[in-house]
Symmetry: C2
Subunit: 336 residues, 2 copies
């Protein structure tokens, strides 16, 4: 059966396009608070996986051994825009662990922050691998490898100890077996395919750490607090993760993923949220995460930037509003 | 009932995202050759409407009165990339009809051709309205207004004689009544909502002009030939319309539209093709139009650029293929 329509885009008096997807909101005991669509087929959380991928960084003691602060932990969970606040910190972090850009296994791409991208074009500068939105995550991987004194080369491969530690953490947090299917992410690291419901459960355990072993519970809390304390380091100026976390005022951490994924962690309610749109469109996931958090009572709908996610005007090239992006009835009608 | 899944995107060993949509392939008598999904709900063809929107330009005699060549007719049907071949011709065309950039009702946006966009950033130049991908279409609208000696100001409004002529042509070609619902397009002009099947019929009449009045038949042939003769003027260097038309070698004209639309015109078979993806993703429509034309036997699947539409590799940031975009079984299995 097809997943339900959750988000719609209008133009004039009609719906022009619409987005189907699956949403699971669960608690740490895996009690399902909301289930929409197919939440059982394994699928890649993509960058929404980053908070879990950062667990070994803290849990292993690497973060403390290298004196990493909340800023670096936020960057380890980030898909950043390549603004100076990101690239300067990643550069310094790599130096601190005795590594450099050439150790990063992710490829280069331009800054996602237009003023930076344009300034670099003007100066004739090419982006380095530091500008890859995942360079913080990779710096985290490298830090663990350094701390464990294992080879840094190949740290992005599925069988490297760092990736094995991530797989083990995800397996334990989600309740899945250790042999999760996987694919190669845009940044060259493995990404594991797991059901939306199981991923929401793993996120719920980031929110409610009571059932976790002490070092993992501490790691989860530190990472979630770092994300909430530094929303722009997790994403960038004006990006959805930053807007949503600002509008949640420390009551939720969120992380977007490519291909229409979004993860949410709500500590005060002990809930995890996983959202995947069938068609892989980020615009649908952007609105859906804001809607779910608003309905959970943790997102301030009066925050001007968040309001433009909940109901996003569609503008034409002369600045006239010609339609809107909004919840479809199935999503609009849910209540917690 | 949900539309069928037509295109899928894989990563590793599994489908990560997929796209549902509707496709109609019909002849000028409205005999349906292929019907997939909901082809009866009215929806905006967006820029796929441009070949129809250009009919009054030729039919009215405006094109001949102003000495327009095939190049300008191709631009009238274009969503161009703002390369010099586009902007210089539009600038000269506007001058020829006694108009200028300030008469254009569309807004400015950057060139879609990266080298041009980057060069303009380096020179500190802001794009003008000439760079709007629809500036050729708007120049056509202005030409008709000039030719009819009616006000050019307000040419983009629904009740202006130029827009009334377009509505009449679309109504007659599609067999729909004259009061089609409409919305405002990205370029500020009206766009009419019509069923995918009815739009395919209008496109079929562009392909097989036998039932049209002589001046419209001539106009349709000239426009379709102009598009096929100048694929890059209809789109831009390396863009899907150009790639597909090059791989069809004069046997089909195609036109992309925003929000997952694609139109095709196959003169030798007298067929019109209309494709709309529910989710509005261009990547799905890009592959679908190539697949349909290949199955109709008019697209050369060995053309290297077209082959990368039929089966598009998904690359990561270090240039490794990690998945692919391809026909889903429903589309892969169709035969003509």
């Amino acid at each position: 059966m097809a997943n339900p329509v959750l988000i719609e885009i209008t133009r004039g008096d009609r719906v022009e396009s619409f987005h189907r997807g699956a949403i699971a909101v669960v608690d740490a005991a895996c009690k399902t608070v909301l289930a929409l669509g197919d939440i059982e087929t394994p699928i890649y959380p993509r960058s929404s996986l980053k908070p879990i991928q950062a667990l070994p960084l803290v849990e292993s003691g690497a973060a403390d051994a290298f004196g990493l602060e909340a800023e670096e932990l936020a960057l380890a969970c980030a898909s950043h825009s390549g603004e100076p606040m990101h690239t300067e910190r990643v550069t310094a972090w790599l130096a601190r662990i005795g590594c450099s850009e050439s150790d990063l296994a992710c490829g280069a791409h331009p800054s996602r922050f237009e003023p930076v991208a344009e300034a670099m074009i003007k100066r004739g500068e090419k982006p380095t691998r530091i500008f890859n939105n995942c360079s913080g995550k990779h710096s985290g991987f490298l830090s663990v490898a350094r701390h464990w004194d294992v080879a840094t080369k190949g740290y992005e491969l599925h069988n490297h100890p760092v990736q094995r530690a991530i797989a083990e953490a995800l397996s334990e947090m989600s309740g899945l077996g250790p042999d999760m299917p996987w694919g190669v992410d845009g940044c060259a690291a493995p990404n594991f395919a797991i059901p939306v419901a199981a991923f929401a459960k793993a996120l719920a355990k980031m929110a409610d750490t009571a059932s976790l072993k002490p070092e993992r519970a501490t790691a989860a809390k530190r990472l979630v607090n770092a994300m909430m304390a530094h929303p722009e380091l997790v994403s960038g100026t004006g990006r959805t993760c930053a807007v949503v976390m600002r509008a949640c005022k420390g009551r939720a951490a969120v992380k977007a993923g490519a291909e229409g994924y979004f993860a949410g962690i709500v500590p005060e309610k002990g809930l995890g949220i996983a959202i995947k749109f069938d068609d892989g469109t980020g615009r649908a996931a952007d609105t859906a995460i804001a809607v779910i958090l608003e309905k959970l009572g943790v997102l301030d709908a009066n925050d001007p930037a968040a309001a433009k996610l909940l109901r996003a005007p569609v503008m034409n090239t002369v600045g006239k509003e010609v339609g809107e992006r909004r919840s479809a009835p199935t999503l609009a009608q849910i209540k917690f």
